[in-house]
């Protein structure tokens, strides 16, 4: 071990470059793992947070419409409100929550609003009995300086004043960015009389969701979509992007292996005399082999630790979004540190095998000629 550290101290520049080569690959891997997990969790939270077994959407692209619903963007296509009676009458429908979304001026700042009825309180735990005022997400509240009891003005097609009855605790999701108001207030401000952006449906029997979806899908001017389908599609879209990123990470790791291998091979040539001396004083081929492998392993592990640190910092600097306009904080797990250190150790071991074999096979006499 002493020989390893002595050599590292002697050749600082080379050590730094080797460590940097491996650390970049490991940092990329760590950032990718943390971001991917964060995005997947973000999508899960947002889509799961809708609280519906079935989403009823206007006719159009279901994925675009679901994203619009989650982002609070006006869908521009709507479900006639009178369909709600048919939906509620359908077999296995426990709850049908009408929703209207859009962006309006809230105290002169464009903000997404979410108009709905008291039925939403069966899906969200807001600690109120009736939605008879505005329930404000934490981000909006801090941006506009609102507290419970404030009065806000919503304006777009029409103007409406409403009292803030509750400020929601921070969730880290889209709810933080919404102002939830009674359905008729949102319909008035968005000029959507008797029209809905979506209906959130909960079923009595979850196992019969497929049949209920079929029944609801037959109603005119709407489509029935399970949120899980949208989730799978969005995760699939992200998955294809993540595969490309993983490929780039793989290339970075292979480059790390080659850089380390090159450095170790150079080290073998430079340290012929040292190898000769070691063999002359009784070191076996196995001792020499282990020396180079252990040296490479240490360098790689140091690079691995550094890479995890850099990866953590990089992840903090990346945009906190799923890429679909939805919030997603990176997710860190101790297992990612383990994976990254294992990869670094693997890089070190693989990269050391050839130079270590070369060193071990070196004839002591030839090696001593280098003195």
């Amino acid at each position: 071990m002493w020989i390893v550290f002595t050599n590292a101290r002697k050749r600082k520049a080379r050590l730094v470059m080797t460590v940097a080569g491996i650390a970049i690959g490991v940092a990329t891997l760590f950032a990718l793992l943390a971001s991917s997990a964060g995005i997947q969790r973000g999508l899960e939270r947002e889509i799961g947070g809708l609280g519906a077994h079935i989403l009823l959407l206007p006719v159009g692209c279901p994925y675009t419409l679901t994203l619009a619903l989650m982002q609070g963007a006006d869908t521009l296509d709507y479900i006639p409100q009178d369909r709600l009676t048919d939906v509620r009458a359908a077999h296995n429908v426990r709850l049908a929550v009408p929703v209207v979304v859009g962006r309006v001026r809230v105290d002169d700042e464009m903000t997404p609003i979410y108009g709905t009825t008291d039925e939403i309180l069966q899906l969200k735990r807001w600690g109120i009995a009736h939605l008879d005022g505005a329930v404000v997400g934490s981000d909006v509240a801090s941006r506009l300086g609102l507290t419970a009891g404030s009065r806000i003005t919503l304006s777009f097609y029409a103007q409406h004043e409403v009292d803030v009855i509750r400020i929601l605790p921070r969730t880290g999701g889209r709810d933080d960015t919404f102002v939830f108001v009674p359905l008729e207030v949102a319909q008035n401000v968005l000029a959507l009389t008797d029209e809905l952006s979506a209906v959130l449906v909960q079923t009595e029997n979850v196992e019969r969701v497929a049949q209920t979806r079929q029944t609801l899908g037959r109603l005119a001017n709407l489509q029935a979509v399970p949120p899980s389908e949208v989730f799978d599609m969005l995760v699939g879209l992200f998955g294809s992007m993540a595969s490309t990123l993983m490929l780039i990470t793989g290339v970075a790791i292979v480059v790390g292996v080659l850089t380390t291998m090159n450095t170790m091979t150079m080290a073998v040539y430079e340290r012929k005399a040292e190898i000769g001396l070691l063999r002359a004083v009784g070191a076996t081929r196995g001792d020499v082999f282990r020396l180079f492998v252990v040296e490479s392993l240490w360098v790689s592990l140091v690079a691995g630790v550094l890479g995890v640190g850099v990866g953590y910092v990089v992840t903090q600097l990346l945009p906190r979004t799923t890429g679909f306009g939805l919030a997603a904080a990176p997710h860190f797990s101790p297992s990612y540190i383990g994976i990254c250190l294992l990869v670094a150790a693997g890089v070190g071991t693989v990269a050391a095998v050839y130079p270590a074999l070369m060193a071990a096979r070196m004839e002591p006499i030839k090696a001593l000629r280098a003195l």
């Binding site: 159009g60 994203l67 982002q71 006006d74 296509d77 777009f156 097609y157 029409a158 000029a191 679909f324």
Partner: protein, 324 residues
């Protein structure tokens, strides 16, 4: 004997009818397809051979917050006689006529910097934009100037308050187009034209586009259209052949009355229409990218056909091979 004479007479009449039908269909077939360049090596379509239907039926416009209003095409006169041929008009012209009839409270103005008419206020509100679709199509987030979008029978138009940031980006892109055209001495020079084939991509830079008057039945002959971009690529030698097919209708969509690109050849690549696939275009500005859904389309899309899409001077035109 009598029976034989009758049989012969019926056969003669049938033969004459068949000849007339075949002749008619044959004439139609020749008029429907154009392979460019023509026998004389010209990259242009004789405009007299195609005529789109003039809007004649009552149409409707949905004004968000005000309801659905009807208009009679016979009563509409265009504010853009520099763009439209006799009898044709734009979405914006419809709003103007509805205002003249007292159905809307519309204040509008010509903006020289954007080369278009804009709504200053409608029913006391500002920030309006529109979506349009032809019969059988779907609404798209268009960024075509409202006074450029030709009205056809069976068309749906909806006018709504647009998000301020997207509207600002649309206006900015219009101003940039005018600045680009002025910087080029009034000529339409496209910084980038991209053709995305099924498995190939061709890119041309700084393409000078001249009007060909292909659709002088709807637009003035001096108006440059997106179709002219392909014809310019042909003249420049980027394309070696181009097949245009006239469609009265397309699947469910009626009153299409436009040319569609069914095949093209150039840069060593060749692609022909199969199973409903064909080339569709987009023209726009990169400044319009990145808006949240459902406003994700950064430019115009498929429904406004290339031969009726008048250009000012966009940043790019893209043609993409689309399959159903």
């Amino acid at each position: 004997m009598e029976l034989r004479r009758w049989t012969r007479a019926i056969r003669s009449v049938a033969a004459v009818l068949a000849a007339v039908v075949i002749g008619y269909l044959g004439r139609g077939g020749q008029a429907d397809e154009f392979l460019l360049p023509d026998a004389e090596g010209r990259w242009s379509v004789p405009s007299v051979l195609v005529v789109g239907r003039v809007p004649a039926n009552q149409g409707t416009v949905e004004i968000r917050g005000a309801g659905v209003l009807s208009f009679d095409p016979a009563g509409v006169r265009t504010l853009r006689p520099d763009l439209f041929a006799e009898g044709h008009f734009s979405v914006f012209d419809v709003l103007v006529v509805l205002a003249e009839l007292g159905h809307l409270d519309l204040e509008y103005a010509w903006d020289e910097a954007s080369a278009t008419h804009g709504i200053v206020s409608l029913n006391g509100l500002s920030g309006w934009w529109y979506d349009a679709r032809y019969e059988g199509g779907q609404f798209e987030r268009t960024v075509v100037r409202m006074d450029h979008y030709p009205v056809k029978d069976g068309m749906s138009i909806r006018v709504y308050l647009e998000q301020p940031d997207r509207l600002a980006a649309i206006r900015r892109s219009f101003r940039e187009e005018v600045e680009r055209r002025n910087a080029n001495g009034g000529r339409v020079i496209l910084p980038e034209v991209t053709l995305h084939g099924p498995r190939w991509t061709l890119v041309a830079y700084d393409v000078i586009v001249e009007p060909t008057g292909t659709r002088s039945d709807v637009l003035r002959p001096e108006v440059v259209t997106v179709l002219d971009v392909l014809l310019a690529l042909g003249r420049d030698g980027v394309l070696s052949s181009l097949k245009l097919v006239w469609h009265d209708r397309l699947d469910d969509a009626d009153h299409v009355d436009s040319f569609m690109v069914h095949a093209l050849q150039g840069g060593g690549y060749e692609t022909s229409a199969t199973k409903g696939c064909m080339f569709a275009h987009q023209a726009g500005s990169r400044g319009l990218e990145g808006f949240i859904v459902p406003h994700s389309h950064e430019s115009s899309h498929v429904h406004l056909s290339a031969d009726l899409h008048a250009l000012v001077s966009p940043e790019y035109v893209r043609w993409t091979w689309l399959c159903p």
